[in-house]
């Protein structure tokens, strides 16, 4: 039995190796977010660019360059509003010191505005998405890639106002 497993593992492993994706950006998680129905909230998503590489920012300086973009697919009761990308760093690279590119390197954070429908139930909702990027090193570039993004958002009830009670004046003792 053990022998069969070893043989099958040996057969299968080159397949994974042959198609193993080269990953230049990793998703490091999202800042825990709590949303009250009707009140949009910011969710910060953190990414890390592999050392020695850079990716174009969301606003590269040429239309030929492929921008970094985030697409989210929230569950039915949630909605995504605007997505705010950080400004790129203007850097030049050894392959062309005369040209500055707008890039992300090291860590960068993308902010997504999210809201919950008024009728949304409370609890944890999982949001899926994809970050598309195109990476380069100091002397080579790599085809565009997408990485999956997944994070949880907690929907809570709006605190109810107490009815029938008059707010007390701070002057009344």
């Amino acid at each position: 039995m053990k022998r069969i497993f070893v043989i099958l593992t040996l057969i299968a492993s080159p397949l994974f190796g042959a198609d193993s994706p080269r990953v230049y950006v990793s998703f490091e998680g999202a800042t825990p977010a709590t949303i009250t129905p009707g009140k949009p909230a910011d969710v910060e998503l953190h990414f890390k660019v592999k050392e020695g590489f850079h990716v174009n920012s969301n606003q590269p300086k040429s239309e030929l360059l492929i921008p970094t973009t985030l697409k989210l697919e929230p569950p039915t009761d949630l909605a995504t509003g605007s997505i705010i990308y950080p400004p790129g760093k203007d850097l030049s690279f050894p392959f062309d010191p005369s040209e500055k590119l707008s890039v992300y390197s090291d860590d960068f954070t993308v902010t997504a505005k999210m809201s919950a429908a008024k009728a949304a139930g409370t609890g944890n909702f999982t949001v899926h998405g994809q970050l598309r990027y195109q990476a380069c090193s100091d002397n080579a570039c790599f085809p565009p890639k997408s990485i999956s993004v997944q994070f949880d958002v907690q929907v809570v009830n709006q605190p109810k106002r107490a009815h029938g009670t008059t707010p007390q004046s701070p002057h009344i003792k």
Binding site: I4, L8, I11, D96, Q134, C136, N139, C141
Partner: protein
């Protein structure tokens, strides 16, 4: 008995994964641009191997095969419009095509780019490209192990890869490899000629 059941489950799972991997890796159009049965190579150990033949369309829509250039030294350059380092070496390739074209050099640029024929053509025109540009397909890049861009392969007159480079290298390194491919190809051709004469 229990062991056999576990083995069947494991075999079924592995076969399912293998089918999935096969489907996933079969990117690109259904008609493969690859010709013949040349084995895929990797950019790091391409030296000495036969260059896999392929057929791709040029910017005028004409089908061009790598083997059409047999008898010439070919510099096969994978590039893309989004690739900064590729842009740096293009003017060098233009000059080198002018300089070594009369000696039998043919530079062939394969654009691994999703931006479309018009964008590629406009870019090539702006860069003053005077060599053949082909619209690439992933299968061709995969066959050459071109994991990054630029990826350059120096092919002799008989279709054998004499050297390769992944990423931007210096102009002098490109030129040295061109000289090497032209000289080696020439001496091989002369040796073959001499052998032919001696035999007759």
């Amino acid at each position: 008995m229990k062991g056999n059941a576990v083995a069947i489950v494991v075999v079924t799972l592995v076969v399912a994964v293998m089918i999935f991997a096969g489907v996933k890796s079969s990117r690109g159009p259904k008609v493969s641009p690859m010709i013949g049965d040349a084995q895929p190579i990797s950019s790091t150990d391409a030296k000495g191997k036969q260059a896999p033949d392929f057929a791709l369309q040029d910017l005028q829509g004409k089908q061009v095969k790598l083997s059409d250039f047999r008898g010439k030294a070919v510099l096969l350059n994978f590039w893309a419009t989004f690739c900064g380092p590729c842009k740096v070496e293009m003017p060098w390739l233009v000059e080198l095509q002018k300089q070594y074209g009369p000696q039998g050099l043919e530079i062939v640029g394969v654009a691994l780019d999703d931006s479309g024929k018009e964008t590629i053509a406009k870019f090539a025109k702006e860069m003053g490209v005077n060599y053949t540009i082909l619209q690439g397909q992933d299968a061709v890049g995969d066959a050459y192990g071109a994991v990054g861009l630029p990826a350059t392969y120096y092919i002799d007159r008989r279709g054998k890869i004499i050297d390769s480079a992944l990423g931007l290298v210096s102009r002098s390194e490109i030129e040295n490899n061109i000289k090497k491919s032209l000289t080696e190809s020439k001496s091989e051709a002369e040796t073959a000629n001499n052998r032919g004469k001696a035999a007759s």
